[in-house]
């Protein structure tokens, strides 16, 4: 009579086997309890569910297309390749799914102020967007290093009315932004909602964000049946915190014939330290409010990580993802920076789609796996975001001299 995986991975208690939990300072406990209660009440309310659906259809642009990659399929010469294109959503990535959901919850709870952490700025941008729409004050914490290197996103967030605060502590990246956001929440518990941007953090965030993201897989199921007459044989998604992967996989967790693959950031190789593949050398720990796999040293200090894609450059992974790893339901692998960059170019040239560097990790695995499969099989990958945001990273990696020249000209004109 065992529970289904779907039941195990979204529930009020927030423990997923040994993972998850709510390891927060006492002062945050009532805040998390209130949020959990508000969320689980809201999703029983038809009006809430209808409002979310309406906004997805008319504001964010759902359903997103499921697209048969005919040229890529021909080039790879194996299984039939399909792409779920979340990059076509408003703000350019799946992040808007949980931002919209959480903004509605915040409104329902009477919160007037929303805070968020952001690494590359994508989650901050999606948060600033929904705050603008719902008239919520928006504060985005960003590591000072990210703040400097992601100036375009900082500019857009400010244009949307958000206040972006650079965090000068620690390594001045995503982790420090998370810590600063938690401190803000501790200081302003009554009027503030912390809009956490992935399936990490204390209960109820992993369950709540999974719920708001599972629409990706639900649409994919309908679209696959519609286009191919059946379920996919393989599904592939990149895994940073895990929000796009869980959203994509969730609806298929209890369909054992659908093989699921998560792709972590292999960075410059998993033998060294410059990567973010938690399942290649990470250990179980309790950090930032939840128990899961983390890249850390022998004594439990979190490690610094590296990935070409800022969205995957994080030492932790969501607790439900760790559960699926141990369970064996999802197979995990990794893609290295150089393969990711090649995948990015191949998808652009064959299908005319710029995938985000995060999503290009999934594309790299598609390129590796598909030729080994029979033509009768189907592979569908989640293009979780579009790649225009990576302009500066890609041009730098490709050492595009003309682009550098352009930047120098622009500087001169300023």
């Amino acid at each position: 009579m065992g529970a289904t995986l779907k039941e195990i991975l979204i529930h009020q208690d927030g423990h997923f086997g040994p993972y998850g939990g709510r390891y927060v300072p006492e002062i945050l406990v009532p805040i998390m309890d209130d949020l959990r209660d508000a969320f689980f009440t809201a999703i029983q309310d038809d009006q809430f569910v209808e409002e979310l659906k309406y906004l997805h259809k008319h504001y964010t642009g759902r359903p997103t297309p499921l697209y048969y990659c005919e040229n890529l399929t021909r080039r790879l010469g194996g299984a039939q390749v399909y792409m779920k294109n979340e990059g076509l959503l408003h703000t350019g990535a799946h992040k808007i799914n949980h931002c919209l959901g959480q903004a509605l919850i915040a409104k329902k709870m009477g919160k007037t102020r929303v805070i968020a952490e952001t690494g590359a700025g994508q989650h901050g941008l999606a948060t600033a967007t929904v705050c603008a729409k719902f008239g919520l004050e928006c504060i985005v914490y960003m590591g000072a290093k990210d703040y400097r290197r992601q100036r375009p996103n900082v500019f857009w967030m400010e244009q949307l009315g958000a206040t972006v605060i650079p965090v000068a502590e620690g390594g001045q990246t995503l982790r420090d932004a998370i810590n600063a956001a938690l401190r803000d929440l501790i200081s302003n518990p009554s009027n503030t909602h912390y809009l956490l941007g992935t399936v990490c953090g204390p209960n109820p965030y992993p369950a709540m964000n999974t719920y708001f993201q599972k629409v990706i897989g639900e649409e994919t199921r309908e679209q696959m049946i519609d286009q191919t007459g059946g379920l996919p044989d393989h599904m592939i998604a990149c895994v940073g915190g895990g929000s796009n992967a869980l959203g994509f996989f969730y609806d298929f967790l209890d369909d054992p014939n659908v093989k699921l693959t998560g792709v972590e950031a292999g960075g410059k190789g998993v033998d060294g330290v410059e990567h973010a593949a938690r399942f290649e050398g990470g250990k179980v720990g309790v950090v930032e409010g939840f128990k899961s796999y983390f890249l850390q040293n022998e004594e439990g200090q979190l490690a610094d990580t590296h990935s070409i894609s800022a969205g995957l450059d994080y030492a932790g992974v969501g607790p439900q993802i760790s559960y699926l790893k141990d369970d064996g339901r999802v197979r995990f692998t990794y893609a290295k920076d150089d393969d990711v960059l090649k995948a990015y170019q191949i998808l652009a040239k064959t299908e005319g789609v710029f995938a985000a560097l995060e999503s290009s990790h999934a594309v790299a695995e598609v390129i590796k796996l598909t030729p080994t499969l029979d033509k009768t099989k189907t592979v569908v990958f989640n293009c979780s975001g579009r790649g225009d945001k990576d302009l500066f990273i890609v041009t730098k990696e490709m050492q595009d001299e003309k682009f550098s020249e352009y930047l120098r000209d622009q500087v001169r004109d300023v």
Binding site: H15, P18, G21, R22, Y23, V24, P25, E26, I27, V29, P30, I31, D33, E169, G170, R175, I178, N179, L182, R183, I186, S187, P189, K283, G285, V286, V287, E288, G289, F294, Q296, E298, E299, G300, Q301, L302
Partner: protein, 261 residues
Amino acid sequence: MIKLTKQLEKIKMSGQPGFMMHLVAGYPDMESSRVIAKNILEEGADILEVQIPFSDPVADGPVIAGANEKALANGATVASSLAMIKGLVAETEKPIIIMSYFNIIYRYGVSAFCETVSSMGVQGLIVPDYPVDEDAADQLLDACKAYDLAFIQVLASTSRAERIQTLLHNATGFVYCTARTGITGKKTVVNEQTLTYLERIRKLTELPIAVGFGLSSKDQVSALHSHAEIMIVGSALIKTYMNKPLPEGLDAIKRFIKSLT
């Protein structure tokens, strides 16, 4: 935890506020932190709270978080922190308590950690990111019991009533009440709300009450003493010696502690 129990009794009998003073092991470096700790004990701390530095100290404000970061950057490890604490315990009669985020303890092994620090003579643990709800899996409370360590519960004024009961039920040593909504290191205004909250806790427990978060001046101590036996001083103390050469820092510590009493 006999040293702690005796000290708490002594504080109660004296009618004077007791002071628990905090520092981060390894800040600014391990040897200096040892000297600073000894100094704090000599200048008037009744209980010493030594924090093992952690890479992600979410419950700490910028001052203590910065000290954690600096300590790690200067090479502090869990092993070297514990060695330093072991030396301190051997040289003082006053109780020493370890503050650590849970991952440090978890990676060491919950039971092994408690055994190690208890055998060193450490009197108790403060683990700010370990709510009792998780104890079914991690069993830190049992390990504390088994190795005679006080498990200091941190209470918040916003905690739901039935939860406060649960926390107090699991508390040993004393209870740590936060005096304001917020993180360590910002000046607390002692208001009616704070005092009412402390009165509420007083009615629910026999244990001594320690009050912390944002304490930095004598007027705060005077305002709180009728409602709590122990004053916790953290960030304000670190502020007195941060970015100063050691001799100057020690002088500043001396003046600061004098100014509180």
